[in-house]
Amino acid sequence: MATGLKASMITVYRLLAFVLFLLLWWVISLVVGENLIPTPLSTLSAAQYLIGDGRIAQPLLSSLGVYCSGYALAVVVGIPIGMLMGGIRDLGRTLDIYVNALMATPRVAFIPLIILFLGLGPEAKIAVVFLGAVIPILIGTYSGILNSDAELIEMARSMGATRSQIYWRIMLPGALSFVVMGLRIGATIGLINTVVAELYTAASGLGGLLALYGNTFQMARYFVVVLALALIGGLVSQGLRMLENWASRWRVTTAGN
């Protein structure tokens, strides 16, 4: 009851914050000048135009296609490699310094190389997204397994569990929250890399529109694209938060979303 009331209060506060944000945006656009920062209203009418005209639908789909393919590929590759590195200790010890080095390298540095091999088309863009997302997913899975609870492992051993039973029943399920954390970081970097790829290879998708409208000072339309990207980011992170809640459903649920 009390928590339900509190949750609805938070919703009210959020709406208030949104109104405040719009107000602030509007004031800034008036102060700075509408040609640099469009008002919320002119952005809205630009959005109506772009959506009605169908001019944003195709780039949106193209960006989502690149993003989803690259991310899916990163999940399919990153989780199993992380599982292998966590399961076979010597393999993990051998590879983890390289993985960490790759994590610390700005992976957009590889874009020229990728263009060289894959050209400027969707394959190259997917590769850039993949490269951004795969490392955090891999590291999340790997470190989740490394962090498994030694006491639970000993308990399972005392009951006669085999190594593979310990891996599948204790280590891997225990790593789930780390895997989901890796998925979240990967999703964020993947979205960034989608836009970067679209800017640096053949301009297309939402990134392409950003460049087009930005370079030609069509700021209201430019803002529509930025907001579309923010919306995608918000939806993805909300979805992954739901996954996270599901993965930790056995924990005490004190905090709402």
Binding site: E151, E154, M155, R157, G160, R169, L176, W250
Partner: protein, 273 residues
């Protein structure tokens, strides 16, 4: 001729290296111990006397450096015949109580129907049927340890090893759990080897008390307890033989602690410096 006892520990030594400075610690030195069938044995002694090491050795989790441990005539292997209950409960947090209790059976690949029946039976035995479908974090300490106990009992082990199982419970719950444990044991006897720091607990539960001393870990004395069972009346603690045994054990432990240079209560009267 008598058959060999089910558990035979003969001349066992074990040395560990400290993680800090790699210096050796003699956890156990020349320990010999036989456990007879259906006896409740408590291992009593101050910290650092190798009680837990001995327990883990009988389970087969670690091997002795020298000497021999035989369980049912063979070197022990962890498995369903030897149950283990830990101080820290060690329930799997993402499994419900029911699945925690069934964990050992699912490791063995016992079929679903039989598994469900046995889990149901042991949940009922420890009084947790109503909590079968909750997760461990929703349970109190006493309930968690009941669940862990049911998990150990569900494979119907012939030996039950308990490593200070009630040490993290509050005093009242602890005494209730002692009664509960005695009830369970009287319903289905097995060898229980029960590690404890508490003199009271050691006396009230045991058929036999094995008193251990620290640095190196060794057996100092073995005492048979002849107090009548059942012992769940409060009067038992007022019996003269209970009080005397308790007092005797207390003095022995205090002596050992005072003479141990690495304890906080070392008085330095010995010539070992």
């Amino acid at each position: 001729m008598n058959p060999a006892p089910p558990v035979v520990v003969s001349g066992v030594s074990k040395t560990f290296q400290r993680a800090r400075d790699r210096s050796p610690v003699e956890a156990l030195k020349d320990v010999s111990l036989n456990l007879r069938a259906n006896t409740f044995v408590t291992l009593l002694g101050p910290s650092g006397c190798g009680k837990t090491t001995l327990l883990r050795m009988i389970n087969g989790l670690i091997k002795p450096d020298s000497g021999q441990v035989l369980v049912f005539g063979e070197p022990p292997k962890p498995g369903p015949r030897i149950g283990f209950v830990f101080q820290s409960f060690r329930l799997i947090p993402w499994l419900t109580v029911r699945n925690n209790v069934g964990f050992g059976l699912s490791l063995q690949g016992v079929d679903q129907g039989e598994k469900n029946d046995r889990v149901e039976y042991y949940l009922k035995l420890v009084g947790l049927s109503r909590f079968a479908d909750v997760y461990p974090h929703e349970l109190s300490g006493g309930m968690k340890q009941r669940a862990a106990l049911a998990r150990a009992l569900v494979t119907e082990p012939e030996i039950l090893l308990m490593d200070e199982p009630f040490a993290s419970l509050d005093a009242q719950v602890r005494e209730l759990m002692q009664m509960e444990m005695m009830r369970l044991w009287s319903e289905r006897k097995s060898i229980v080897l029960f590690v404890t720091h508490s003199v009271d607990e050691a006396v009230i539960m045991a058929d036999q008390i094995v008193l251990m001393g620290p640095r190196p870990g060794r057996i100092v004395e073995t005492i048979d307890v002849t107090l009548p069972r059942p012992r769940w009346d409060a009067e038992i603690r007022m019996r003269r033989d209970f009080v005397e045994l308790r007092g005797y054990l207390w003095n022995r432990i205090r002596e050992m602690v005072m003479r141990d240079p690495s304890s906080d209560f070392y008085t330095g009267e010995s010539d070992s410096i």
